[in-house]
């Protein structure tokens, strides 16, 4: 739906494994070409697209990635495969355009890394960063559940690579409460001392930067310093396009991927 809405992109094919899945039916109802042939749909018709969003699994992406490269198709990897260049649009979006395969880390990575980055830039001597995401059980599909270790490894790697902080930990909670909880992510930084007031502006600035591509991204606890730690908390609501609003975790990574795809599109048609 987000691709269909974009002026810069056209959704040329929606590929899955099962023509009767709800996503497939939805795509079909919007007159998008669909296929149940997986990667073979692209191998047999490489001209079908210039860019692919790979939302399979980490293991599958590792198989797909060299194929995309050989066919000259850019890949935005939504799995925690760690194959391509780690990307958070608000931090290194521009730089990533040089690469033909970018990795969108994880939902928690998209939510937490920008805050961790802002803290690292503004507070000296951060020894350690930790991030905790809690998401609604209903928004965690079988892929997320089967890949929970990869989620943690990729989130830690993403934060570490983009912030430069060596000592990083990621935690994920699934909460089954009904009505479903919105995605909520907390970033902690271990420091000896800090004036949290001074962090409010840079964190707000980062929030605004992210809101440009994820409108439902909202700081709910501005930076506080207590017990030797800085803490900042964000809540992410989705647009409610296809998935419910509470599934901000799915929306944030989708929105980040779409914004990168649009940047690639602008580059290829020469728009600034």
């Amino acid at each position: 739906m987000k691709i269909l809405r974009s002026d810069l992109m056209e959704c040329s094919i929606f590929i899955g494994r099962n023509l009767s899945s709800p996503g497939m039916k939805k795509a079909n109802s919007h007159n998008v070409t669909i296929s149940d042939q997986g990667i073979d749909a692209i191998i047999s018709n490489p001209k079908i697209c210039d860019l692919v969003f790979d939302a399979t699994t980490a293991a599958s992406h590792n198989i797909h990635a060299p194929i995309f490269r050989e066919l000259g198709i850019k890949a935005i990897d939504m799995t925690p495969s760690q194959f391509g260049k780690i990307c958070v649009p608000a931090i290194n979006g521009k730089e990533c355009l040089k690469f033909d395969n970018i990795n969108m880390i994880t939902c928690g990575g998209q939510a937490s890394t920008p805050l961790a980055y802002a803290l690292m830039k503004n507070v000296p001597d951060i020894e350690y960063i930790e991030t905790v995401s809690s998401i609604a059980s209903r928004s965690a599909g079988p892929g997320t559940r089967a890949n929970i270790d990869e989620y943690i490894e990729n989130t830690e790697k993403g934060i570490s690579e983009l912030t430069g902080c060596k000592h990083v930990k990621a935690i994920l909670n699934l909460n089954p409460a009904i009505p479903c909880i919105d995605m909520q992510t907390t970033v902690f930084a271990k420091v000896k001392d800090c004036d949290a007031k001074k962090l409010e502006f840079p964190i707000r600035e980062m929030e605004e930067r992210i809101q440009k591509y994820v409108p439902g991204y909202k700081i709910v606890v501005p930076p506080v310093f207590e017990n030797g730690r800085i803490m900042v908390m964000v809540r992410v609501q989705g647009l409610g396009d296809y998935l419910p609003k509470y599934a901000g975790n799915l929306d944030i990574i989708n929105c980040a991927a779409i914004s990168m795809a649009e940047e690639y599109a602008k580059l290829s048609i020469g728009v600034n």
């Binding site: 930790e130 905790v132 699934l174 909880i181 909520q184 506080v224 908390m233």
Partner: protein
């Protein structure tokens, strides 16, 4: 006489009570005493288990590696057990290390409705030939049907036993009876119960669990554990024996182990404090009691209000960050900002 396996998480759940500050020396002391008492399984680690030392839940005084190697060196007949929550611990970072150290029993745990996150971890441990249990935490938050369904999933992943935890100490005996009965009739594997004492029900709930077919019970020396504490080990053992169950544990030695625990592990013996009662009524994870106490002071709000608010929001174990959010919100409402 029916045999009941006692699994003793004094050195794991007890860590919640002292902000995860158990030292190697304390672990060594208690392990020796517990081993002498022939307690079948001794669980060791951070309160939330392997890989859980964090700002979110609390930074451990010792590393997992040091805690487990110390325990290993001091246990000869008792098995060494650990608690593992996917989302905190991973196979590569944590489980492999624990296997190398020689952990015998892996208890793979998750919130009671999320069994499918344990699939890889349970099957990995099983493939490696180690003993593996599935643990459903905060089990009062699921209906009996859901609990059975989730337990069955863990059974298919390869779990050799299912333990349900009353993490908030919220169960009454009839709740335990209903759940254990349903689980034992639906599963082919052993069923266990882990009680907390928030509402004074831990020992009786454990007895009711075995009466309904459970064959594993968790219990801690002096009840040393989160919140109001766990089922009290040295009470449970003679109570079970008197009811006609055998535990294989020597009475005098377990009493000695409990004395050692009281003297060397804890600043205060767990008791049912006001906040723990509220945590039990509100159905909130007992492990939250230390952070709630601290943040209530920090933001000058009533810890009981925090617990009720957390209960309304149906938070699960691992969501300690929400305590800060709730404390700040309450402070704002009360006009008592920091």
């Amino acid at each position: 006489m029916k045999n009941i396996i006692i699994s003793d998480p004094t050195l794991r759940d007890g860590n919640h009570a002292i902000r995860h500050q158990l030292s190697k020396e304390q672990v060594a002391l208690y392990c020796k005493a517990a081993d002498k008492a022939r307690i079948p399984v001794i669980e060791v680690g951070h309160g939330n288990g392997l890989g859980a030392s964090s700002i979110q839940v609390g930074i451990c005084k010792e590393t997992d590696f040091d805690l487990l190697t110390t325990a290993r060196e001091n246990l000869s007949t008792s098995k060494l057990g650990i608690h593992v929550i996917p989302g905190f611990a991973t196979i590569n970072k944590d489980i492999k290390m624990a296997m190398d150290i020689g952990v015998d029993v892996f208890r793979i745990a998750c919130h009671c409705t999320e069994a499918d996150v344990t699939r890889n971890h349970i099957s990995y441990v099983r493939e490696k030939g180690k003993e593996v249990y599935g643990v459903l935490m905060m089990s009062h938050m699921a209906s009996v049907e859901v609990l059975v369904e989730e337990a069955k999933k863990m059974e298919t992943y390869g779990a050799e036993a299912i333990v349900i935890m009353d993490s908030a100490g919220a169960y009454f005996p009839k709740d335990v009876a209903e759940r254990i009965k349903a689980l034992t009739s639906a599963l082919k594997i052993r069923v266990g119960f882990h009680g907390h004492n928030n509402l004074g029900m831990a020992v009786i709930n454990s007895v009711v669990a075995v009466e309904n077919g459970a064959t594993i019970l968790d219990a801690c020396a002096r009840g040393f554990g989160a919140g109001a504490g766990n089922t009290q080990l040295e009470v449970l053992v003679p109570v079970l024996e008197r009811e006609g169950y055998s535990t294989g544990i020597d009475l005098y030695s377990v009493l000695d182990a409990a004395d050692i625990a009281e003297k060397y592990l804890m600043k205060e013996v767990p008791s049912i404090q006001s906040t723990s009662i509220v945590s039990g009524i509100a159905g909130v994870f007992s492990g939250f009691s230390k952070p709630v106490e601290r943040l209530a002071k920090e933001y000058n709000v009533d810890p009981r209000d925090i617990f009720f608010k957390l209960g309304e929001r149906k938070v699960v174990a691992g969501q300690e960050d929400v305590i800060v959010e709730v404390a700040i919100e309450l402070a704002r409402l009360n006009g008592t900002t920091k």
